[in-house]
């Protein structure tokens, strides 16, 4: 029997495969397809203090080996999450992680305090990297002082596992990772989407209502891998890798580059059963390579 258990800070996960925020809803939407309790964890849709309608349609453009989105954190707000969603998912036998968003530091703190009251949410993923909102979001994640300021403020009110989600839209992601580590982040997850754009040549108009949007899918995988490797070498806290993971081999590559766990995002749109195929694929890779614990894979890159 291979051992798939990994730890992020003090939190143990039954396996290293999580579903990424904004790509698995609140879990319920994909429950027809997969047994959610088989997942290492489920990072729910980006949540904000207040209800958000998100950006106008069109919000999506298919691109070579990927897609652009400009959803803009559409969600019904934290009260709705606590009242109507949390009760349905809290007893799932997997870790529910809430993706926390704000347009000011105070909003991040207030939202974190609300989530902190929920016993069955053992971790938050602080999203300082959403490229699709006008205020806050990525603005916090692209400079060291602002990233430090949010993490410092949130850390003061939150004792459970604090994961900070980083933006790839920076010159040096390792610097940002070090900055959030210095303020007490327990882990970093990366990458969020890359800022991109699509143009309709016939109409000379942008495809997305917001002109620019976030690129995801296999198109971004080499960039994501490079960034995971850079961050892994720069910090001591565990790294959670994502960006274009479509199969077990992709996931294993991220772990070899330094990821302790991975998140599966856009692949779910193509096939919501992919996360489970990835778990199975990691198992058979380990058997084939006579690896007992998945931890042996983490950062095993031989240069």
């Amino acid at each position: 029997m291979v051992n798939l258990e990994i730890k992020i800070h003090e939190l143990a996960f039954k396996n290293p495969v999580l579903t990424a925020s904004g790509t698995c809803g609140f879990g319920e939407e994909i429950a027809d397809f997969i047994d959610l309790s088989l997942l290492g964890g489920l990072v729910v849709k980006g949540t904000t203090l207040k209800h958000r309608e998100g950006n106008a349609y069109p919000r999506m453009a298919e691109t070579p080996s990927g897609m652009l989105n400009a959803v803009g954190l559409q969600n019904k707000g934290v009260d709705n999450f606590i009242r109507n969603i949390y009760p349905n998912i809290k007893d799932l036998d997997t870790h529910i992680i809430v993706n926390v968003n704000g347009s000011t530091i105070d909003e991040y703190v207030e939202l974190t305090e609300r989530i902190n009251e929920l016993d069955k949410v053992p971790a938050i993923e602080l999203n300082i990297s959403c490229p699709n909102v006008k205020e806050g979001g990525m603005a916090f994640g692209i400079s060291c002082p602002s990233a430090e300021a949010v993490v410092r403020a949130v850390r003061k009110v939150y004792d459970k596992t604090l994961i900070v989600k980083l933006s790839p839209n920076v010159t040096n992601i390792a610097d940002i990772a070090k900055a959030v580590e210095s303020q007490g982040a327990d882990s970093v997850s990366l990458i969020n989407t890359l800022l991109g754009m699509a143009v309709n040549a016939e109409t000379k108009k942008p495809v997305l209502s917001t002109i620019t949007g976030g690129l995801s899918g296999p198109a971004i995988k080499p960039i994501a891998l490079r960034m995971v490797w850079q961050v892994y070498n720069a910090v001591k806290i565990p790294v959670i890798g994502m960006g274009g993971i479509m199969n077990a081999t992709d996931a294993i590559e991220f772990m070899i580059a330094g990821a302790s766990a991975v998140q599966v995002g856009t692949a779910i749109f193509i096939d919501p059963t992919i996360p489970l195929h990835i778990i199975d694929g990691i198992k058979s890779y380990m058997e084939r390579h006579k690896i007992q614990s998945v931890n042996e894979i983490i950062g095993s890159l031989q240069c």
Partner: protein
């Protein structure tokens, strides 16, 4: 029935006219309770520029044979590739998706209006609505006679009317210029429609003015088709709604048309 991701067997791929094909797919699992307006999200294999699945409405279903039919109109690369598939091939698909039209009551007199590939759910609805054919009218619009698909096998389910932009079949003009719509709308108490946006908007506006029940099936661009990406939203009177899970069928009263 539960949504699943499965390999369907393509039993038949029949070219109906220049751009329209009818695909017959066999499900590996039993099928139950499929209604007009629901759709399937199909993987397009071996097409290098295509990343996402493509959604198609259900045209017909045979529970005994575990088959569904689709009407695929060539629009771009994905639909083209799909129409090149051969019988015997497997096609991976997510099914069933979306909510259906509200089925009419026994006493209803309904008008079904289809444009382009939007005729698929209209024909399905005509077939299963269970009304006296005298109370079912189906109005179909296309550019020209050669773009119309043969609907003779549906003649028993209602009265059919046609409109073409060039006048080569039925009335010349858009469906909204057809007398069934422009003069005789009072005969109906429910309108159902699927087709190009502009067509549905024109129909929807008239239905709102005349206060006639009207449901439309939207075709917003989708990434997932099952409610997780929030890309397919329509701006309704009660906020952004997912076309793939809250729809694709909406009552015009709920839309900001």
């Amino acid at each position: 029935m539960k949504k699943t991701v499965n390999d369907f067997l393509l039993l038949e791929n029949k070219q109906l006219n220049k751009d329209n094909f009818q695909l017959l797919l066999q499900s590996p699992l039993p099928i139950s309770d499929i209604y007009p307006g629901q759709f399937i999200n199909v993987e397009i294999k071996e097409a290098s520029e295509i990343f996402l699945r493509r959604p198609f409405s259900i045209l017909d279903v045979d529970y005994q044979e575990q088959t569904i039919s689709l009407l695929v109109k060539i629009l771009g690369r994905g639909s083209k590739k799909l129409t090149e598939a051969h019988a015997g091939q497997t096609i991976n698909a997510i099914f069933p998706l979306g909510k259906s039209f509200t089925l009419p009551d026994k006493s209803d007199r309904i008008l079904l209006i289809g444009g382009g590939s939007g005729v698929a759910p209209m024909l399905f609805l005509a077939k299963i609505c269970g009304l006296d054919p005298a109370n079912v009218s189906v109005l179909i619009g296309a550019r020209s006679a050669s773009d119309h698909i043969d609907v003779s096998s549906y003649r028993n389910y209602g009265q059919f009317y046609f409109a073409t932009e060039d006048g080569s079949l039925g009335e010349k003009g858009y469906v909204t210029n057809h007398p069934v719509f422009s003069d005789q709308l009072d005969k109906f108490n429910k309108i159902y429609t699927c087709g190009p946006d502009l067509m549905m908007k024109a129909i929807g506006k008239t239905a709102l003015e005349k206060d006639i029940f009207c449901e439309v099936s939207l075709e917003n661009m989708m990434a997932c088709g099952f409610g997780v990406c929030l890309c397919c939203v329509e701006d309704t009177k009660t906020g952004h709604k997912c076309v793939c899970t809250d729809g694709p069928v909406f009552n015009v009263n709920d839309l900001k048309w």
